[in-house]
Symmetry: C2
C-alpha cells in the first residue's frame, strides 16, 4: 500500500522506517533564517508542527514529552527557583515548568523566534503561560547564552532541543555541558532530551559520558512513549552535580507524570543498561 | 514527501497514522484459508511478517512483546507447570515460556498452521523451541479448544492474538474469558495482549471489565514500547482469580524483561488510570 499526497511522512533517518499522519489542511509554511516551519491540521492528531520536515509537536501526544522533560527534574531539585530552557520554542515545556509555584524565573532561550510565534498562533494551549511575569522569552543562540551566563545562576537547565544535527548539534557536546555545569548552583540539575532508546542507544551513551566528563556525578536516563517521535519510544537524561534526591510529591495537574511514573521511567531494560554501561 | 514502492506501509486503523518500513525484498506471499501471509526483508528491521497487511513480527523489536507477554505472568504464578498459548503462531512467546524449567507442558493452539510453517522457515530464531518435548503445537480454533478443555487444566493461559477483528474478535469477549476462567487452576493466571494505551484505551477498559465479569478478581495492565505496533506503545493485561503474588526472581536470560521492568510496566499514567477506572 502506498500513501497518497494527503499524508505527511517523516522518514526516521538511518532507520529504514517512517511515520505518516493524515493531513486535512496545511495552515502555515514559513522559511525562517534557521529552518522551514510547516503546520498542518491532521485527521487524528490535532495540529502538527514540523521543522525542516521533522515532527516537532502534535496536539495529541505532546503532553508526554513536555511533562517528562520538566516535572522529574523540577521535583528532584529540593527547591528550584531559577530555570533555563534552551530551545523549547513551542512553549510546552515552559507551561509545565510554570505550573510549579516555587519557580520565580524562567529564561527560555530559543534560537528561532518564528517557532514561538507560530506556536502562539497555532498551538495556543501550549502558550498559556507565555505572558506569565516569571517567563523571560529570549531569542538567541543557547550556546552563546550559556557561555555568558554567570556562575551558579540557575537551579535547573532544560535542553529541549531538536535532533543533534544542524544548529542543535552543539547542544549534545561536552563543551556545552561543561558550560551548563558552571552555570548551575551546587544542587543544580540538567535534563536533556536524549532521543530514542531503541534507535539511538549509542548517542545516549555518548551524551552520558560527556555529561560525566563535564563534572556531573549522577545520571539517570528516563524512558517514555512518544508516538510521533522516531521508534515511538523516547528518553530524557537527567544529570546532577551530586547524588539524586528522592523526588518531592507532585502537586500540579498532569496527564502522564506521577511519582510512580517517575520512578518507573528510570528503570532501564537489560539490553539498554548493558549498552549504557559500555565505555566509549 | 511520499514513499515509493520500496516501502511497506501499515495504516493504523482509524488513527489517521501509519508506519512504514523500507523493504529490500519480498520473500514470501501466501494466501492461507485464514489470511494472507507476507514476509519481507527490510533495510533495518530484519525480516517482517505481515498478516492481511498488518505487522505481526519483525526481527528487530519482537523481543519486547514476546518477553512481556510471558515472563510477567510466569513469574507471578508460584509454580506454573501447564501453559496454554492461544494464537502465538510465530512461536516467539513459546520460546520465552520454555526458557523456564518448571514448565512441563505448553499447548499452543494457533488457528493457522501457515503462520507457524512460515515462522519456522523465515524466523528460525523464534522457533528454536518448537521441537522441545514439552511443546505441543496444535492447529485449531482457540475458542473451541478452550470450550472443550477440562476444568482446572492450565496454570497459565496466554492470549497472543491478532487485533480484535475477524477470526480473533472472539478472543476479546466475555464468553471466552469465562471459558478461560474455568480451564484455569485456582492459582491460575490469564494474560492477553490488549493493544495500544494511546489508541485503544476504551478497548482495554472493556477487556478488563469483561475479565472481571468472568470471575477474575485482580487485573493488572502492563505497558511497554513496541515500535512497529500502532502508536509504538503496547499493553498486555494480566488477570488473576485471586490477588496477584509478588513476582518470583527471573533466572532466565532476557533483553527487555527484569523484575524492575515488571514492576514499572504496571504503573499507569494518570490519564490512563482515570480511563480504566470508568465503568462502561
Amino acid at each position: 500500500m502506498t500513501l497518497d499526497k494527503t499524508w505527511y511522512t517523516e522518514k526516521w533517518q538511518g532507520q529504514g522506517a517512517a511515520i505518516s499522519l493524515r493531513v486535512t489542511d496545511k495552515i502555515h509554511d514559513e522559511q525562517t533564517d534557521y529552518q522551514r516551519i510547516e503546520i498542518y491540521e491532521t485527521e487524528s492528531f490535532g495540529r502538527l508542527m514540523t521543522l525542516d520536515g521533522l515532527v516537532m509537536v502534535t496536539d495529541r501526544d505532546n503532553f508526554i514529552y513536555h511533562e517528562m522533560m520538566t516535572h522529574p527534574a523540577i521535583l528532584t531539585h529540593p527547591n528550584p527557583k531559577k530555570v533555563l530552557i534552551i530551545g523549547g520554542g513551542d512553549c510546552g515545556a515552559l507551561k509545565e515548568v510554570l505550573k510549579h509555584k516555587n519557580i520565580v524565573r524562567v529564561d527560555q532561550v530559543e534560537l528561532d523566534a518564528g517557532v514561538t510565534r507560530a506556536a502562539e498562533k497555532f498551538f495556543p494551549a501550549l502558550c498559556t503561560s507565555n505572558n506569565d511575569t516569571r517567563a523571560n522569552l529570549v531569542f538567541d543562540d543557547g550556546i552563546k547564552w550559556i557561555q555568558k551566563s554567570a556562575a551558579a545562576s540557575y537551579d535547573l537547565i532544560i535542553i529541549d532541543s531538536t535532533d543533534p544535527v544542524g544548529p542543535a548539534a552543539g547542544l549534545f557536546e561536552h563543551g556545552f555541558y561543561r558550560a551548563c555545569f558552571a552555570a548551575l548552583t551546587d544542587e543544580g540539575l540538567l535534563i536533556a532530551q536524549s532521543e530514542s532508546p531503541l534507535f539511538h542507544d549509542a548517542l545516549i551513551n555518548s551524551m552520558r559520558q560527556d555529561m560525566n566528563k563535564s563534572g556531573f556525578e549522577t545520571l539517570s536516563t528516563l524512558l517514555f512513549p512518544q508516538c510521533t517521535y522516531p521508534s515511538g519510544w523516547w528518553s530524557a537524561t537527567l544529570a546532577s552535580k551530586g547524588s539524586l534526591n528522592q523526588p518531592r510529591t507532585c502537586d500540579v495537574d498532569t496527564l502522564y507524570y506521577s511519582s510512580g511514573i517517575h520512578e518507573s521511567a528510570q528503570v532501564l531494560p537489560p539490553f539498554l543498561k548493558r549498552k549504557l554501561e559500555q565505555k566509549i
